[in-house]
Symmetry: C2
Subunit: 158 residues, 2 copies
DNA sequence: GTTATAGTTGAAGTAAACTTGAAGTCAAGC
DNA sequence: GCTTGACTTCAAGTTTACTTCAACTATAAC
């Protein structure tokens, strides 16, 4: 239990690509934890980097922070998560990704035929109405990531 | 120019799958237009359905409303858009979709190797760091749709 | 010891894409 | 001709995922 290899905020920010404000936000939301120095500054354990890698990865797969938090909460409390723990969490993404890819491919194929016909019919067009992929609104394929997050500090708003 | 086949709000809502509030919002944003009755109620031309189909389709491809509005504004003012007009608008989506699919496939392939290794390394993992697809932040592949919109009235918040 | 740099908090702001509510008006069927 | 349901406006609220600000406080280097 070396105290020496704890990371401070800017270390973690630089190495994870998340802004310090995002790290604080994630801590408030329970996605990551931190210990404090006597002067109340955050110090992070090394494995926070792995957690953050998971966060970014999960965002790329289209999970919301709530879902990510739920997934992370299934990690063991006492010990540092093992490779197997992470693998278990990641495994569910596979089907999610498959569904997303299928949905987009369907859209693209539909587009190819639509470009031929120019229809954009509300009822028939696969693009405007990717029915069988998305119309089932039970747990299924009705998600796609908002935007592929880049592993780079976001440019600040305005 | 029959006045008889104008559609009212609830017709358009049902046939397009957009909520009336969304239709009003889109009108404010300039995506669609409407004439008014003497009593100030909206009446929509039939081709609004096609515009709305375009909106939904474009959302599925990941365009923001601003982008969609810009695209729609290139349609001819005077005449009803032809098939060729719509085709022209749709054509740009193809590459966009290709990029999205490529990005997700990369993610999935990375996941396959990550599940083998359990790494989730910030530097190396293709999932948490889908570098070459997304790291270029010029005009390129840094977008994915938020969520595959379903052609169904959304369940209201809370 | 001092100073520059880095870190702390809580509240408020941002952006997109809509929805909700209140308070009132229109249209259609009986 | 009146009631009922549909429609109107405008302002404000919602959600997600953060960022920004102001006013302080720590830490590290010298």
């Amino acid at each position: 239990m070396k105290t020496t290899d704890l990371l401070n905020v800017s270390d973690v920010a630089h190495r994870s690509g998340f802004a310090p404000s995002a790290l604080r936000f994630y801590e408030r939301e329970g996605l990551i934890g931190a210990t404090r120095t006597t002067g109340n500054q955050r110090r992070y354990e090394r494995n926070v980097l792995r957690r953050l890698a998971f966060v970014r990865a999960a965002q790329n797969v289209g999970l919301s922070l709530d879902e990510i938090a739920a997934a992370l909460s299934t990690l063991p409390d006492g010990r540092t998560p093992t490779r197997a723990d992470w693998t278990r969490l990641s495994r569910t993404w596979r089907s999610r990704l498959d569904e997303q890819i299928a949905a987009l491919s369907k859209l693209r194929d539909g587009l190819d035929s639509c470009i031929g016909c120019g229809c954009l019919s509300l009822k028939k067009c696969a693009i405007s109405n990717p029915g069988d992929v998305a119309a089932t609104d039970g747990p299924g394929a009705n998600y796609l990531p908002r935007r592929l997050r880049v592993n780079v500090q976001r440019t600040p708003a305005r």
